[in-house]
Symmetry: C5
Subunit: 327 residues, 5 copies
Amino acid sequence: MAEGKTSIKVIRYNEAGYEEFAPSTVDECFKDGFKGVTWINVEGLQDARLIEVIGQRLNLHPLLIEDIRNTELRPKIDEFDDYIFLIFKMLDLEAEEVTEEQVSLVLIDDTIVSFQERPGDVFDLLRERIRNGKGVVRRMGADYLAYALLDATVDEYFTVLEKIGDKIEALEGDLVDDPSPRVLQELHKARREMIALRRGVWPLRGVIDMLDRCGNPVIGEHMSIYFRDIYDHTVQIIDAVETNRDVVSSILDVYLTSVSNRMNEVMKFLTIIGTIFIPLSFIAGLYGMNFRFMPELEQVWGYPFALGMMVFTALAMLYYFRRKKWV
Amino acid sequence: MAEGKTSIKVIRYNEAGYEEFAPSTVDECFKDGFKGVTWINVEGLQDARLIEVIGQRLNLHPLLIEDIRNTELRPKIDEFDDYIFLIFKMLDLEAEEVTEEQVSLVLIDDTIVSFQERPGDVFDLLRERIRNGKGVVRRMGADYLAYALLDATVDEYFTVLEKIGDKIEALEGDLVDDPSPRVLQELHKARREMIALRRGVWPLRGVIDMLDRCGNPVIGEHMSIYFRDIYDHTVQIIDAVETNRDVVSSILDVYLTSVSNRMNEVMKFLTIIGTIFIPLSFIAGLYGMNFRFMPELEQVWGYPFALGMMVFTALAMLYYFRRKKWV
Amino acid sequence: MAEGKTSIKVIRYNEAGYEEFAPSTVDECFKDGFKGVTWINVEGLQDARLIEVIGQRLNLHPLLIEDIRNTELRPKIDEFDDYIFLIFKMLDLEAEEVTEEQVSLVLIDDTIVSFQERPGDVFDLLRERIRNGKGVVRRMGADYLAYALLDATVDEYFTVLEKIGDKIEALEGDLVDDPSPRVLQELHKARREMIALRRGVWPLRGVIDMLDRCGNPVIGEHMSIYFRDIYDHTVQIIDAVETNRDVVSSILDVYLTSVSNRMNEVMKFLTIIGTIFIPLSFIAGLYGMNFRFMPELEQVWGYPFALGMMVFTALAMLYYFRRKKWV
Amino acid sequence: MAEGKTSIKVIRYNEAGYEEFAPSTVDECFKDGFKGVTWINVEGLQDARLIEVIGQRLNLHPLLIEDIRNTELRPKIDEFDDYIFLIFKMLDLEAEEVTEEQVSLVLIDDTIVSFQERPGDVFDLLRERIRNGKGVVRRMGADYLAYALLDATVDEYFTVLEKIGDKIEALEGDLVDDPSPRVLQELHKARREMIALRRGVWPLRGVIDMLDRCGNPVIGEHMSIYFRDIYDHTVQIIDAVETNRDVVSSILDVYLTSVSNRMNEVMKFLTIIGTIFIPLSFIAGLYGMNFRFMPELEQVWGYPFALGMMVFTALAMLYYFRRKKWV
Amino acid sequence: MAEGKTSIKVIRYNEAGYEEFAPSTVDECFKDGFKGVTWINVEGLQDARLIEVIGQRLNLHPLLIEDIRNTELRPKIDEFDDYIFLIFKMLDLEAEEVTEEQVSLVLIDDTIVSFQERPGDVFDLLRERIRNGKGVVRRMGADYLAYALLDATVDEYFTVLEKIGDKIEALEGDLVDDPSPRVLQELHKARREMIALRRGVWPLRGVIDMLDRCGNPVIGEHMSIYFRDIYDHTVQIIDAVETNRDVVSSILDVYLTSVSNRMNEVMKFLTIIGTIFIPLSFIAGLYGMNFRFMPELEQVWGYPFALGMMVFTALAMLYYFRRKKWV
C-alpha cells in the first residue's frame, strides 16, 4: 500500500467548456443534469473510508472496493450491467527509475472514476488536451476518455521498453570491456524487468480485447477501432519484449563462448610454453648430476652438444605442435 | 492415509443465530426444517465406515466416497443434479514446515460437508467470523460458505508462496557467501516446491472457473463475482510461481557463470606465474650443469649476465602477456 | 508379434451365476438368449485365421482385424453404430521387468472381446471379483466390465510409475557415491522410460475422454462418472511423470554442478601448491649454478639468506592468495 | 526441378478387367463411358506444356498447374466442387540414400491423375495388386486408389524412419569407440533428418484429417475408416520421430558428460602426480645449491635425511589427498 | 520516419488500355466513371498534409491515417464496410543489404492506394506485366492487384531467406577454418535476422488468412484460391525459418563440442608430456645434490644406473597411460 494521503481531483468537460476542481466532499464530485464527461481522479489509497463512500455512491460491488485497495492484482476487467471495472498497471519513468502503480477505473455512464496509488501519473498530456480543447477528446464521451487513459498508459510502456533496450545495449558494451559478474547480474536483471513488463502487458491485452468485444452499452460501437489500435500496441510491446529477450540470450551466449575461447587460448599458450621448457630443464638437470663418472662432462664438445640437444628438442616440439595446428 | 481418529464438528448458523457442536451420531448432524446453513466438518479419514454412512445419508455416488479417502487425487469438481463435489489441496504452514492436505467438499442444498485428512486447518478465521457475525457470511447461503472456504485456502497459498520466495532470497545470499552443493540442492528443492505448488493451483483454477460457469442450482448467480475473485487470485499465484522459477534460473545462471569466471581467473593467474618461472628455472638449470668446459662459468661477468638474462626474459614475457591483455 | 499359440477363454456371468470355460470352437463362445455379460478373452495373436473368424463373427471392419495383430499402434478408439473398438497398452510388472503388451477390446452389446499379445495379464483380481460376486461387477453390464478392465490397466501404470520413481531415488544415491557414466546412463534410461510411459498414457486419456462423451448406445449414461474417474487417474499419472522428469533434471543438474565444483576445487588446490613451489625451486636452482664468481655462495650467511628468501616468498604468496580468497 | 523427360502411364481397371498402357496423346488417357477407375501417372515435370494440357483437360485452376511444377511446396489439400487436389512428399529409400519427391494428386470422379518428379516410386506393390486382382482394390473406386497411394507412401516413411533409427543406434556405438567430431556431426545430421521427416509428416497428417472430414462427393463415406487408419499411422510416425529426438539428445548428453568426466579424471591424476613431485624436486634443488657453508651437506646422515624427508613429504601428501578423496 | 519527399504515381488500367502518370494534385488521381483499376502509389511519408488529404478523400478513419505514418506497426488488417486497410512489411534486397519498409494498402472499390516509406520497391515486375498486358492482371479487378502486390512482397521474402541461408552456410565454413568470436557473433546475428523475418511473416500469415475469409464485398470470391496460395507461401517461409534456426543451433553445438574436444586433446597431450618429465627431472635433481656422502655418485655404474632408472620410469608411465587409454 503506498504512503501519503488521499485526494480527489475532478475534471468536468464537454464540447462547450471545461472545469477543474478539488472537491471537499464526495457529493461535490457529481452534478446531476450535467451534459458532458466527468473524470474523478482519486490519488492515494490510504483513506479506506473515502474509497468506500465513493464505491457506495457508484453502487460498486463490495469486492471491487476491496480490489481497488489491493495493489497486487493482475490487470483485469469486470463487466456489470451498467458499469465496467478495469484494473491495469501504470509504469512511470522518473529519474532513471521505473515505478509501477496500479490504476483502477470505473466507467459508468458519462463518468470515469480512476484510483491511483500515488499522485503523479502519465496523464498530464491528456489533461492538457482537455484544457486546450485540442484533438477530439472534448467532442467524445467517457468511453473515449477511458481509451485515452489506456492509450497514455500503453505509450509510457513503450518509453520504458526503450529505456530497458538502451540499458541492454549499454550492458552489451560493458560486457566486452569488463566482463565482470556485476554486468552479468545487470543483464539478468534487465531480462527479469522485461519479463515483468510482459507480465503486465499480457493480461492488459486481454482486457482491451474484452473492452472491444464486450458490447456493454457504456462503450459506443464507434470505439472499436480505437481499442483495436491499443490492442495492436500491446501486441507490439509483447513482440518487442520477446525480441529483447532473444537479444539478451544471444549476448550471454556470445559472451560466455568468447570468455571460454579466450581463456582456452591463454591456457593453451601457457601450457605449450611450459611443455617446451620441461624437457629442456630435464636435460639441464641431467648434466647437473654429480656422478663422478659421467664421460660427457669431461669432453670439450659436451657443453655445445647439450645446448644443441636442447635447441633440437625445442625445435622438434615446435614443429610437432605446428603440424598439429596447436600454435 | 493420515493417522489419528475421525471426528465430526457441526456449525449451524443463519442471520439470527449460531450453533456449534460435536455430534455423537451422523443423524444428529442433520436437522430437518432448519432455515440456515449447516457446515459439517469431518476431520480424519481413518473411519471408513463413518465416511460411508455420511456418504449414503447424502446419497453420494460410491466412487466419490472412495475419492474422499484417496488422498492422492488432483483438485477436481464433479457436478451432479442436486449436489457439487469438490476436491482441493489445503496447504498449512506451521512451524516452518508446509503440510499438504486434501480437502473434499460436498455442497448440497444449504449444507456443506467437508472432509479433511487431519485436524487443524486454515479456516479458524472464518469460524471466528461466523461466531461473531462479522462480515456478510451469516447473511449468505451455503454457496458463500463454499466460497469462503476456498478463499481461505487460496489465501494460505499466498503465505506459503511468500515463504518460499523468502527462502529463495536467503539462498541467493548463501550462494554468494558459500557456494556449496548443499545450497544448490536447496535451491533446486525450492524450485521443485514451487512446481508442486503450481501443480496444486493449476487444476484448482479450472475447478473454480467451472464453479463459476456451471449454472448448478446449488450456487446462486450472485456468487459469480466471488468465484471470479478467487479465480483471479489463483492466476496471480501461477504468475508468481512463474516469476519465482525465472528468478531461481537467473540465480543459478549468474552463480554458475561467476564461479566459472572466478575459477578461470585463478587458474590463469597461477598458470602465468608458473609460465614466467619455468624459463627462468631453465636458465638456472643450464648454468648448474657440470661440464668441465663451460666458458661462461669462468667469467666474472657470468653470474650478472645470467641474472640479467633472467630479468630480461621475465620482463619480456610480462610485456607480451600485458600486450595480449592476459594480466 | 509375440510368440506362442492362441487360446480363448470365456467368462459368462450375470447377477445370478457365473461360468468360465475354454471353448474349442469360436461358435461356442456365443450363446443366443443369454441374459448377462460375456467376456471372450483371446490370448496370443499368432493364429491369424482364428482372429479373422472371430472378427467376421462380430462383423468387425477388416481394417480393425488388421489392427488387432499390428502391435505397434497407439491407444485409440474407433466408434461404430453398434460397437466400440479400443486399443490400449497394458504394462505388466513381473520380476523387476516391465513388459508392454497391446490389448484390443471390442465392446458389442453385452459382450466384450479382448485380444492380448501374450497369456498373463493384470486382470486376475477382476476375475476373482467376478467369480466371488464381490463388488458391483456382477450386477452391471458389459460397459462396466470395459471400465473395470481399463481401471485395472491404469492401476498397474501406477505400480510401474512407483517402481521407476524408486529406481530414480536409488540412482540419486548411487550418483553421489559413485558418479560413473553407468549411473548417468541409467538415469537417462529412467527418463526415457517415463517418456515412453507418458506416450502410452497421453492418448489413453483421450480415448477415455471419448468413451465418456461418445454417447454410443453400448455405454450406459450411468457409466460417465466411472470413466471420469479413470480419466482423472490418467491425468494424475501424466502429472507424476512430469514431476519425475523434473526430479531427474534436477538430480542431473546438481550432480553436474557438484562434480564440476569438486573438480575445480581439486585443480585449484593443486595448482596453488605447484605455484608456491615453482619460485622456491627457481631460487634453489639459482644458487645451484656453477659460476666461479658468485659472491653469495662464499658467505657464511648465504645459505640462511637463501632459505629465508624462500620462506618469505612462500609466505608472501600465501598471504596474497588468502587476500584474494583463493585458499 | 528434376531432370529427364515426361512420360505418362495409364492403368484402367474395374472388377472385371485390367488394362495398362503408355498413351501417345493426352486424349488417349480418357475414355468416355468407361465403368471403372482410371489412374493416369505422369512421371517427370519437365514438359510444362504437357502438364498444362492435362490440367486444362481436367479443368484445373491455373494456380494448381503452377503448384504441380513447384516442387518446394508443403503437403496440402485443395478442395473444389468436383475434384480434390493433393500434394504430398514421397520418400524413396534406394541404396542407402533417401530421396524426397513431391507427388501431386488430382482425384476427379473415377479418375486419379498423379504427377511425380521422377520415374520410380513406392507404388509397385500396389500396381501388382491391381494387376493380380489381389485385395479389394479392384472392387473399389478411385477414392480407394487415392487411399492406397497415400498408404504406400506412409508405409515407406516407416521404412525410412527405421533406417534413421538404425543409424542412430550405430552412431551411439561409434561415439563410445571413437568420440570424434565426425560422429557428432553425423548424429546432428540424423537429428536434422528426423526434423525434416517430421516436417513432411506433420502437414500430411492435417491433409489426411481433412480428406476424412471434407464431405466431398468424390470420396465415399465408407472411406472414413481407411483415412482414419492412415491418420493413425502419421501420428505414430510423429511419435516415433519425437522418441528418436529424445534418444539423440540423451546420447549426446551422456556422451558429453562421459567425455568431460574422463578428461577430468585424467587431468586430476596427472596434476596429482605433478603436485607430488614438485616439492620433492624442490628439496633436491635445495641441496643442489652450491653454498660453501651448508652444514647438512657435510654430514654423513645428510643424504639419507634428505631422502627420508622426500619420502615423508610424498606420503604426507598422498595421505592428505586420500583423506580428501582425491585419489 | 524515412527521409526524402513524398510523390504520387498513378497507374490506371483495364483490359483495353493502360495509363501511367504522376499527378500534381490529389484530385487528379481519381477519375469518375472510369471502368478499370486505379493504383495510386504514394512514395515517402514526409508530407503529412498530403497523406491526410488523400485519407480524407478516401474517407479513411483518422487512426488509419496515423497508422500510415507510424512505421513501427506489425502487419495487420482492418476491415470496414466499404474498404479494407492492410499494413505489411516489404523487404528489399539491394547490394547485400536488406532494408525493411512498411507498406500500407487501402483497397476500396476498384482503387488501390499504397503508401511506401521510400521510393524503390519490389513491384517493378508487376508494373511491367501491367504495361505489357502479360498474365491475367489486366483482366482482373483491384482485388487481384492487391493479391499481386502481396505476392511480389512474399516472393522477395524467399529471396532474402535464401540469402540468409547462404550466409549461414558460409559462416559454417568460416567457423571450421577460423573459430573466432566474430564468426559466432555473425551466426547469432543471422539467427536474430531470421527471428525478425519470422516476426514479419507470422502476422502476415494471419492477415492473408483473414483476407481470404473476411467475406468483404471488395474482394471477389474467386480470389480465395489466390490468397490460399500466398498463405501457403507464408507457411513455407515460417517452416524454412524454423529449419534454419535448427541448423544454426546444430552448427553452434557441433562447433562448441569440437572446440572443447580439441582443446581437451591438446591439454591432455601437454599434461602427459609434463607428467612424464617431472619424475625424470626429480631423479636428475636428486643426483644433483651436493651431499658429501652419496655413495652412488662415486660408483662407475652410478650414471648408467640413473639413466636406466629414468628410462624405466618413463616407460612404466607410458605403459600405464596406454593401459588407461590416455595416449
